[in-house]
């Protein structure tokens, strides 16, 4: 019964994603417009066709699919995190990856603003040139590289602080501490580089505006990898949901599988954050939304959360582009409103007919 229900939901989410992709292609800086028409009839109006081709193919399609991929990565990471920590409040950014990525981006922004080598110098009140470290390499790294590197390094730092993955609570605490400390450092950097503030805000609220085909392919590749790993590791999460002792008695290699989970978590989150910035709430909400309609094993939950996250972010992104075109709303604001609103509605609907279960 649940198996059938899960597969129906899976197909429904895929169908919804296709529908949203078609809609997403029609929404852009001119609001809603039908570009599919001229695109399908290239002979009727060649000029119109060429314009539609460029806008749709170069910009909107990679952007729309990129939004799906980023959402899918975050949904997947969210399901993994909630299973790993056995905590319904866990989200993909719990191990410090968000603040690591922010710090990376802030450093690059500051380095770009101040010119290579003056980041340390800017901190001296008397204005003497004094370089703590060369910042030329930071600029070359670029925002994407810095965000990814920052996210992964932050998770490694968390792992080091928690001395491994044996104790979930210690891992959780270390993640929170790393998050707070790196967050504070980010604000320090921004204080000395106020002109980076707006660009930083854009990163913090997330945006799919600059997702091209390369970014899209990278995220899709990581998603495939992470999905496969997730399917392999689902057994551990199922075991863990019965309690640590039970999982141990089932003969699961807890430590190595936890390491693998953390690695997948870091990779998926890092890839999404690097391309689209910090998009709130998708990772937290997607698994809950799935659980509210179907109870299933972690294997399917991971896949469905992934599909749900993709749909959620795609819908939010389409709205973000369309609502006040040609201006854009930060997509993170809309994911919070959409996902949060739906989650609240589920909670208020009560428990009858499969209400939310935490």
């Amino acid at each position: 019964m649940n198996l059938r229900r899960a597969s129906i939901i899976g197909w429904a989410l895929l169908g919804l994603a296709l529908l949203l992709a078609a809609l997403g292609v029609c929404v852009g800086s001119a609001g809603f417009e039908n570009l599919l028409g001229p695109l399908l009839n290239p002979l009727r109006d060649p000029e119109q066709y060429a314009m539609a081709h460029q806008i749709v193919w170069d910009i909107r399609l990679p952007r729309t699919l990129g939004a799906w991929a980023a959402g899918a990565l975050l949904g997947l990471a969210g399901a993994l995190a909630q299973g790993l920590f056995r905590n319904p409040l866990a989200d993909p950014f719990l191990l410090g990856s968000a603040s690591g990525a922010s710090l990376g981006v802030a450093l690059v922004l500051a380095a770009m603003g101040g010119g290579a080598g003056t980041l340390g110098g800017a901190m001296m009140s008397d204005g003497t040139a004094f370089s703590v470290f060369g910042t030329g390499w930071l600029v070359r790294l670029g925002l994407t590289g810095a965000a990814f590197g920052g996210a992964v390094l932050a998770v490694l730092l968390t792992l080091a602080l928690s001395r491994g993955v044996q104790h979930t609570l210690r891992l959780l605490l270390a993640g929170v501490v790393v998050g707070v400390v790196l967050g504070a450092m980010t604000h320090m950097v921004l204080l000395w580089s106020p002109e980076s503030m707006q660009a930083m805000q854009a990163f913090m609220l997330g945006s799919t505006a600059f997702v091209g085909w390369t970014a899209c392919a990278v995220m899709a590749g990581v998603w495939l990898l992470a999905s496969a790993a997730g399917a392999l590791l689902a057994r551990l999460l199922d075991g863990l949901s019965l309690g640590e002792a039970t999982a141990h008695s089932l003969g699961l290699p807890l430590t190595s599988m936890r390491f693998a989970l953390v690695a997948v978590l870091a990779l998926a989150t890092g890839a999404a954050v690097a391309q689209t910035g910090l998009i709130a709430f998708v990772g937290l909400a997607a698994p809950h939304l799935v659980r509210s309609v179907v109870k299933t094993t972690h294997g399917r939950l991971i896949l469905l959360s992934s599909l749900m996250g993709g749909v959620l972010l795609m819908a939010a992104d389409t709205l973000a582009r369309g609502l006040i075109a040609p201006q854009e709303l930060p997509v993170g604001v809309l994911t919070a409103v959409l996902g949060g609103g739906y989650l609240l509605w589920l909670m208020h609907r009560g428990t009858r007919g499969g209400g939310i279960s935490l």
Binding site: S29, Q54, D58, R63, M112, V139, L191, E195, A202, E328
Partner: protein, 299 residues
């Protein structure tokens, strides 16, 4: 004649004895005499004080004030939004000039320090702020200084050929992308220079744009700061922009950006920087849509 001058001087000195200034918060500030020790917490206000020739009266500035050169030697009292109250109080200023958006005003006032909050956002604001600060410092040549700034902007505009009127410009403030709209301070300068801004006034001063909007508008010239130019060509669809393909880019260094984004007395210098680049980069040719060149062959 001498007597008239004497009477006038007496009147002026008498008027300077006690006067009131209403700042941008609508608060009326009373000065017993013209303040001699001034702390400025906003770079554009610092520059305004110095443009009025009163740089010597500054005793402290915020950490972002870096022009003119002499203010770099003054004590820094933190940033405009996070100033060090103790440091300001220790300087015993007669008045603190700051932006209205800062919370620090109330705290300083309760400590008995006079505060004048001014928020220059447009060309008209720059004139008003110049006059206001002139009033605070009891200097009389604010009007003539404004006239010379205004004349310099007109001169920058006149240095450009008439054909520049068909040039469509996109000014990117930061890689959000946030652009400068017609109603912004930068947009007003562009209008004075006679070029078209691709961002109309109804989008507000600094809208966060969908990058697709810029691709569609296909501006003739893109103006931006050094920091964001590198990533531009990598944005989806942007390689085909005429401005990028033909290198019609005005890239401003960090120092030049300071001049351009600060609504202060150096706005004429900003206009000159933009005009120099426009004279260089703005072609007279009619805009060609990028898809006519990159699209497939016509049937």
């Amino acid at each position: 004649m001498k007597r008239v001058v004497l009477v006038l001087m007496l009147l002026v000195s008498h008027a300077a004895q006690a006067f009131q200034v209403v700042d941008d918060r609508g608060v009326s500030v009373t000065f017993a005499q013209a303040p001699q020790r001034i702390v400025s917490l906003l770079p554009s206000l610092t520059e305004t004080v110095c443009a009025l020739g009163q740089c010597a009266r500054l005793v402290g500035v915020d950490r972002y004030s870096n022009y003119p050169e002499s203010v770099k030697n003054l004590p820094q009292v933190g940033g405009g939004l996070d100033p060090n109250i103790e440091a300001i109080v220790a300087l015993k200023p007669d008045v603190v000039l700051m932006a209205t958006s800062s919370r620090v005003g109330e705290r300083l006032q309760s400590l008995g320090i006079k505060v004048v909050a001014l928020e220059p956002k447009t060309h008209a604001d720059v004139k008003r702020v110049l006059e206001k600060i002139g009033q605070v410092m009891a200097v009389t040549d604010a009007q003539s200084i404004w006239r010379s700034i205004d004349a310099a902007i007109s001169a920058a505009a006149q240095s450009l050929p008439k054909s520049v009127a068909s040039t469509r410009v996109y000014f990117e403030v930061n890689p959000g992308p946030y652009g400068a709209g017609e109603s912004s301070f930068i947009g007003e300068t562009l209008t004075r220079l006679g070029v078209k801004n691709i961002i109309g006034s109804k989008l507000g001063p600094f809208p966060k744009l969908n990058p697709e909007f810029v691709v569609r508008a296909n501006p003739d010239v893109i103006m931006t700061a050094e920091r964001s130019v590198d990533s531009m060509a990598q944005r989806p669809g942007w390689q085909s922009l005429r401005a990028l393909r033909e290198h019609r880019l005005c890239v401003f260094s960090t120092d030049q950006s300071d001049v351009l984004v600060r609504p202060g007395p150096r706005m004429s210098e900003g206009a000159r920087l933009m005009a120099q680049c426009l004279a260089d980069k703005a072609g007279t040719g009619k805009t060609t849509a990028p898809w006519l060149k990159t699209g497939p062959a016509k049937p």
